[in-house]
């Protein structure tokens, strides 16, 4: 527990971990928000979530190579993912939509493998990064560094979240999506074209992931095989926050980011991933335990 002592001896590093965790947590929350949307509306757990993220990153990389400014590339990557999401919905997702969750998990898992391997073929397995050309802020005498790109990403993620929430609340389409989430048969009877709503929801999710991925590529590095970590994080955030709760998702995302950083610091980087996955199990058990007290079941 030497590492813990460092944190007590020099709390400034806790601040560093906390700030950094919160900033990156916003990006996780963004992807998680898309997952919650698809899960809530379509009753599908999208296992290709992480691959959408990485794909967004690679698209931004390609756009940057083609000479576009990275920030302009973010909406383009999101738009491209929207189209890709739509196509994937039409080809595969539409056929698993009313099957049980298990089938949709496996189907999206297959899509994840497919996307991974296609990215590997198209972009190569190289680690790529996109330089946004921003600098670093120093706080506390240089002990705490804050990357400007992370701050920018944080705000982009938050703004996107707000826009999305407004879209769902205020627009006709958004209302149709929410109605479908509540009860798709009722929505159908009321004249909502649920098939179109599903397609848009799925495509929208892909677009959100694309934006998140574009941010990821500017903050860290991307590689075709890095998707699963983002899928799992999204899932955890959704489990903690519940479906259709924007603020909850955002808070859970930020919390996860910070928790992850502290776990990595204290337990050592080798147990950071183990920590995330163990946390997932523990959260599920805890939730289940609470429900079993009421003799009710998760379903």
């Amino acid at each position: 527990m030497d590492n813990l002592q460092i944190l007590f001896a020099a709390p400034v590093f806790s601040l560093q971990l906390l700030i950094d965790g919160i900033l990156i947590g916003a990006v996780f929350a963004l992807a998680a928000y898309g997952m919650a949307l698809v899960w809530g509306v379509m009753k599908i757990i999208n296992f290709a979530q992480g691959e959408f993220v990485i794909l967004g990153g690679f698209l931004l990389y390609a756009l940057k190579e083609a000479g576009l400014h990275p920030f302009l590339g973010v909406p383009v990557a999101a738009a491209a993912l929207f189209v890709i999401g739509w196509v994937i919905y039409r080809i595969a997702i539409v056929r698993v939509i009313e099957k049980d969750l298990f089938i949709s998990i496996l189907a999206t898992f297959g899509i994840a493998i497919l996307l991974q391997q296609l990215m590997n073929q198209v972009f190569g397995a190289d680690v790529q990064t996109v330089e946004a050309g921003l600098g670093t802020w120093f706080l506390m005498d240089g002990q705490v560094t804050v990357l400007q790109i992370k701050v920018v990403s944080f705000f982009i993620a938050m703004v996107l979240g707000v826009i999305l929430a407004l879209f769902l609340k205020k627009t006709r389409l958004g209302q149709a999506i929410r109605a479908t989430a509540q009860h798709y048969r009722a929505a159908q009877i009321l004249g909502v074209d649920t098939d179109r709503v599903y397609a848009i929801t799925f495509a929208l999710n892909a677009a959100i992931c694309g934006a998140a991925g574009a941010l990821v590529s500017m903050i860290w590095v991307i590689q075709p095989f890095m998707g699963l970590a983002y899928t799992i994080r999204s899932f955890m955030i959704v489990i903690v926050a519940g479906l259709g709760n924007v603020i909850g998702v955002a808070l859970a995302g930020l919390g996860l980011g910070a928790a992850e950083n502290f776990a990595g610091f204290i337990l050592g980087a080798e147990f950071q991933a183990a920590f995330i996955f163990s946390l997932l199990v523990v959260i599920l058990l805890w939730r289940n335990f609470r429900l079993s007290l009421k003799r009710e079941y998760l379903e």
Binding site: N3, I6, A10, F13, Q16, L17, D20, I24, Q117, N120, Q121, G124, A125, D126, V127, T129, T136, F138, G142, Q143, T145, L147, V216, W220, V221, Q223, F225, M226, L228, A229, N261, G264, F265, G268, A269, E270, Q272, A273
Partner: protein
């Protein structure tokens, strides 16, 4: 009931049919005037960049040898070729493919895959079938204490990759009149067989110098972020930060130390060239120490490629990029293999194996001389520092072109 039976028989028929498809063309080790080597290399998966370097290295050597008239065995000239499979960057696949190469394709000469993991997967199989494998990219020392007789590595094993940086630090301490025992080291390596051995080497070396290892992080294979480890570095202020994690680790280390303005006196990493840190990060990569098996500037020579520089030129003409050492060592593996076959004067596996074991030759890549565990003990690792946008050898002393710049200038002074 009988419906099930029909289905089952149908399936067995299908299996048989598939079996026939698979059985298809059978490669023999030597057919007519062709010698076929077998290799399982990562074309997909996380090692595929380096897998490509490996394949290019093999192919260039094969092409060169064929241009020069092929291989002469017992008075007859043979062309050579390599049969590749994709090991998907996983050891399990590599093992299966070794089996496939040997049993199904009848290949008797195996070239290694990329990476210690896949090599570990293949070695038990080649060993069992007593097929010699000369490999160029499996550097883990754990490969060489298992009693394998048929495994040979032309490269320096990985525990030696970065130990030179520890020695360098000790020298600097002594030169400054300080006690090396006060030096602090931070180690952050990817959690895979290769990097874990680098770590083992560093830990051993630090112990001999009496240095303290203050950070010992194993980075996950799905590494995306080193912020946490670097925060620790800031907190504990080690003199030397050692990072190893294939291309991904190199890119992250250089990028994030610059972003977070982490000041360490010495930063030593592997895979600089493969990750192209110089090209990607420019000034941020300055003063980084890079471990390399080989560099085009070295003075080695051989009869096939000429000097190391000539090799680099030829490689660049062919593939359009400067060869990283992963490619060079792969080419060297082919040269060693072919040389051994010529000396054996036979295609007998056992004779070839003995000839390989007896190898003591000079190549453009360096001298190759295997000890009785099969690793090359004749060629040291070189440490290069990025100075003014160039890789400059700084250690060990016989290769040093410049003095090492120590300590790295602080970020605020750059």
């Amino acid at each position: 009931m009988h419906r099930n039976m029909k289905i089952t028989f149908l399936l067995f028929a299908m299996v048989a049919a598939f079996g026939l498809i698979l059985a298809g063309p059978a490669w023999a080790k030597v057919e007519g005037d062709m010698i076929t080597f077998g290799a399982a290399v990562s074309f997909t998966g996380k090692y595929s960049t380096n897998g490509k370097h490996t394949k290019n290295g093999y192919d260039l050597a094969v092409k060169r040898l064929n241009e020069m008239g092929g291989v002469e065995v017992a008075g007859k000239h043979y062309k050579i070729e390599v049969k590749y499979y994709d090991d998907e960057s996983t050891p399990a696949r590599a093992g299966q493919l070794a089996d496939r190469l040997i049993k199904q394709d009848g290949i008797k000469f195996i070239l290694g895959p990329y990476g210690s993991g896949p090599t570990k997967g293949m070695a038990p199989i080649t060993e069992k079938y007593q097929v010699p494998m000369v490999e160029a990219n499996g550097a883990s020392r754990a490969l060489f204490n298992k009693g394998y007789r048929y495994l040979f590595a032309v490269l320096t094993t990985s525990e030696q990759y970065l130990t030179a940086s520890v020695d360098l630090l000790a020298e600097q301490y002594l030169a400054a009149g300080k006690d090396p025992q006060d030096a602090k080291i931070a180690v952050a390596v990817e959690n895979d067989p290769f990097s874990m051995d680098i770590r083992a080497g560093i830990l051993d070396d630090a112990q001999t110098h009496g240095m303290r290892v203050v950070i010992d992080d194993k980075l996950p294979k799905e590494l995306t972020d080193m912020t946490v480890t670097l925060t620790k570095v800031k907190a504990l202020k080690p003199d030397l930060l050692v990072v190893s994690g294939h291309s991904k680790g190199a890119a992250l280390a250089v990028r994030q130390t610059a972003q977070m303005k982490v000041d360490v006196d010495m930063l030593a990493i592997t895979h600089c060239e493969a990750a192209d840190v110089k090209g990607k990060f420019g000034a941020d990569a300055e003063y980084t120490l890079c471990a390399t098996q080989w560099a085009p500037t070295m003075s080695y020579k051989d009869e096939w490629f000429g000097s190391a520089g000539d090799y680099a030129k030829r490689f660049e003409e062919e593939y359009g990029y400067v060869p990283p050492y992963q490619a060079a060592e792969s080419s060297a593996a082919v040269l060693v293999y072919v040389n051994a076959i010529q000396r054996a004067g036979s295609f007998d596996k056992e004779k070839v194996r003995d000839a390989i074991a007896a190898t003591d030759m000079e190549t453009f890549y360096g001298r190759v001389d295997f000890d009785d565990t099969g690793k090359n003990i004749a060629k040291p690792m070189v440490l290069r520092q990025i100075q003014n946008g160039e890789y400059v050898p700084v250690a060990p002393s016989q290769f040093a072109a410049e003095k090492v710049i120590y300590p790295r200038p602080k970020w605020k002074d750059r």
